[in-house]
């Protein structure tokens, strides 16, 4: 406490300095009815145990249940229930909140910590640092593309889904024994890349309350026990924070907050710390939303057959087109837009730096087009969730009397309006963000037009695919 008292003058000074960034924040960890739920390790352990049990059941259902995807718990709960909840609830409202209860890293993390409810640490394993060259979103982008190439089979084949889940579980466990902390989640998990990227738009953050307190605290317990290896004082955005709340629990000065904040707070910073890896991932997400919309919600049977027939010439052509769209066409158009923007605004920064910084407008655009795609992809299949709850293995059971559940056609009729609304929100947010970026560079407002045109063209294409 003496350190805290000594630091008080500095704290007050710093509080005034950071006052603007702390405005419009509500520290949920200070709400009496929430405090225990956030700071105790037990609620999280219970939820994580449930998700781990459900995960293991999902793998078993995929391996021994019906091979018909729409009658198998593994397909419906992973690709309809969870994947939809992730995009419509967890990410938009909670950022990486799913990561806090994700079962994939649990066994490895428990081994690392040497107990189920211990502080994170390196009790077991080599605890090596992840290679610097492999940091960033490069690997996650590559893995997402790889999964995207096989998406038609992955999303429909229960056995394959089970094997993928098993491989991910074993990979996370193996990596946790070799590398320190959550190496798998930070650098390899393709879903982690997706959630981390869009977590910047979410209204939830873990942040230091008084930076001066941290500066005087030499033990850095928050950093030592963070499963993600993040030092909260140095956190610029929420893309790598898994919201596990371990830093809140171990902070001796109660100096870390779980803030409710305005949407997109991480995107409003004047000097974003973004790299080309993030730009690539954002573009991969945009191209994947386009490709998946065409394959899964479009009327083109030949395209579905091509995406499904793995190894065939048609599949090779589909994969080549998907990779070309993700790695050449969209990045090329986007680079052209940024180059035009640089010339129009006479911005002195190198093009590479600008491409990285201007990736921010792609995030709301991507998130909301994924939401729009999900509405069309998942809504018609919601009845299957009730159906597989009664018959999880597709063996003809009817445990809860919901095996024959169906969805009312009027609900499906409302979906196109919701999709249009989502695309429009994403587009407005994206263009507005691009304009703000141009303003911070003190460039002519016309410099925002090329990237805005890119976002508009992309949105029109999505609208045509979704409601055309």
């Amino acid at each position: 406490m003496k350190a805290l008292q000594d630091a008080m003058p500095l704290i007050e000074k710093t509080s005034r300095l950071v006052g603007t960034s702390a405005e419009r924040r509500l520290n949920l960890a200070r709400l009496p009815w929430l405090e225990w739920w956030i700071k105790s390790r037990w609620p999280l352990l219970i939820v994580r145990s449930v998700t781990l049990a459900a995960f293991i059941f999902t793998i078993l259902a995929g391996l021994v249940g019906s091979p018909v995807g729409s009658h198998n718990f593994a397909i419906i709960f992973v690709w309809i229930a969870w994947w939809t909840a992730l995009k419509l609830l967890f990410i938009p409202l909670g950022g990486r909140s799913w990561c806090s209860v994700c079962p994939l890293p649990m066994p490895g993390e428990w081994l690392q910590a040497g107990g189920l409810i211990s502080k994170a640490g390196n009790a077991n394993g080599f605890g090596l640092r992840w290679p610097r060259r492999l940091r960033g979103y490069w690997l996650a982008s590559g893995l997402f593309l790889l999964i995207g190439m096989f998406s038609a089979v992955t999303l429909t084949d229960a056995r394959l889904t089970a094997w993928i889940l098993l491989i991910l579980l074993v990979s996370a466990l193996a990596l946790s024994l070799v590398f320190e902390r959550r190496a798998f989640c930070s650098y390899l998990c393709p879903i982690g890349g997706f959630t981390g990227l869009y977590a910047k738009t979410a209204p939830l953050e873990v942040r230091v309350i008084h930076p001066a307190v941290c500066k005087t605290h030499s033990e850095k317990t928050c950093y030592l026990h963070c499963p993600w290896g993040i030092y909260p004082l140095a956190m610029r955005d929420s893309s790598q924070c898994g919201l596990c709340m371990e830093c809140l629990r171990v902070c001796e000065y109660d100096n870390i907050a779980l803030n409710l904040r305005p949407f997109g707070s991480d995107l409003a910073v004047s000097q974003p710390k973004t790299g080309l890896d993030e730009t690539l991932l954002a573009l991969v997400m945009l191209s994947s939303a386009l490709s998946f919309s065409a394959v899964f919600t479009g009327p083109w049977g030949w395209l579905k057959s091509a995406a499904y027939a793995i190894g065939s010439p048609a599949w090779l052509a589909y994969s080549a087109a998907y990779l070309a769209l993700s790695l050449l066409v969209l990045p090329g158009l986007y680079a052209l837009a940024v180059w035009l923007s640089r010339n129009a605004g006479e911005i002195g920064k190198p093009l590479k730096r600008l491409i990285a910084e201007q990736a921010q407008p792609l995030l709301p655009l991507g998130l909301f087009t994924w939401i729009a795609f999900t509405i069309d992809f998942a809504f018609p299949k919601f009845s299957l969730i009730l159906s597989v709850l009664s018959d999880p293995l597709g063996w003809g059971w009817d445990l809860f009397g919901t095996a024959g559940a169906s969805i009312h056609p009027a609900i499906l009729g409302a979906a196109p309006m919701l999709q249009v609304g989502a695309v429009l929100v994403g587009l407005f947010w994206s263009v507005n963000l691009g304009q703000r970026r141009v303003e911070t560079q003190q460039a002519n407002w016309r410099a925002a037009l090329p990237v805005a045109a890119f976002s508009l063209l992309y949105s029109l294409l999505m609208l045509w695919l979704l409601v055309g």
Binding site: V68, G69, S70, H71, A152, V153, T156, D157, V295, F296, T297, G298, P299, W300, G301, W302, K304, S305, Y308, D376, P380, K381, L384, P409, A410, L412, G413, A415, P416, M417, V420, V423, L424, L427, F428, W429, S430, V431, N432, G434, Q435, R436, E439, W445, A448, L449, A452, A453, S455, L456, S459, L460, L463, W464, V467, G468
Partner: protein, 148 residues
């Protein structure tokens, strides 16, 4: 002065938004014609993939599966039919509001069954045109949001 500029700009954006959302578009007259379609179904596509009719048309769809049992349901229409391979089952209904509606296979026909989709286009697709107009407006509003 700035305040009036803001009010004028956002009033204009709101008016245009309402206009794009609600203004009547030139529509084909309700023909009330009887249109008959032979719809072939084969994993995982309908052929033709898009059926074009006018509002008020009496529409008959003859479903002919080519490989396995297939079905047909249409979003926003409370109807459903199934047919065995090589057999024809038909169904008649009156086309309603203009728009593009998704036709789906309603019988599990294989791995990609949930994504076996076609389109029923009733009149012109007003929603797409309105959405395109609103998208343009959203982009303009995004650019000028902080400038006025």
């Amino acid at each position: 002065m700035i305040r009036w500029k803001k009010i004028t700009f956002w009033g204009l954006i709101a008016s245009l938004g309402l206009g794009f959302s609600l203004a009547p578009l030139p529509a084909r007259a309700n023909s009330g014609a009887h249109k008959v379609f032979t719809l072939q179904a084969k994993r995982y596509a309908f052929w033709p993939a898009v059926l074009v009719v006018n509002p008020g048309d009496r529409v008959t769809i003859e479903l002919i599966p080519q490989d396995v049992v297939h079905g047909l349901s249409i979003d926003n229409y409370d109807l459903n039919m199934t047919a065995d391979p090589g057999q024809t089952t038909s169904l008649t209904f009156i086309a309603g509001q203009p728009g593009s509606y998704t036709m789906r296979c309603s019988v599990t026909c294989g791995a990609m069954h949930p994504f076996m989709i076609g389109r029923l286009q009733v009149g012109q697709n007003d929603l797409l045109w309105r959405a395109a107009g609103l998208a343009l407006l959203a982009a303009v509003a995004g650019i000028f949001w902080r400038r006025v």
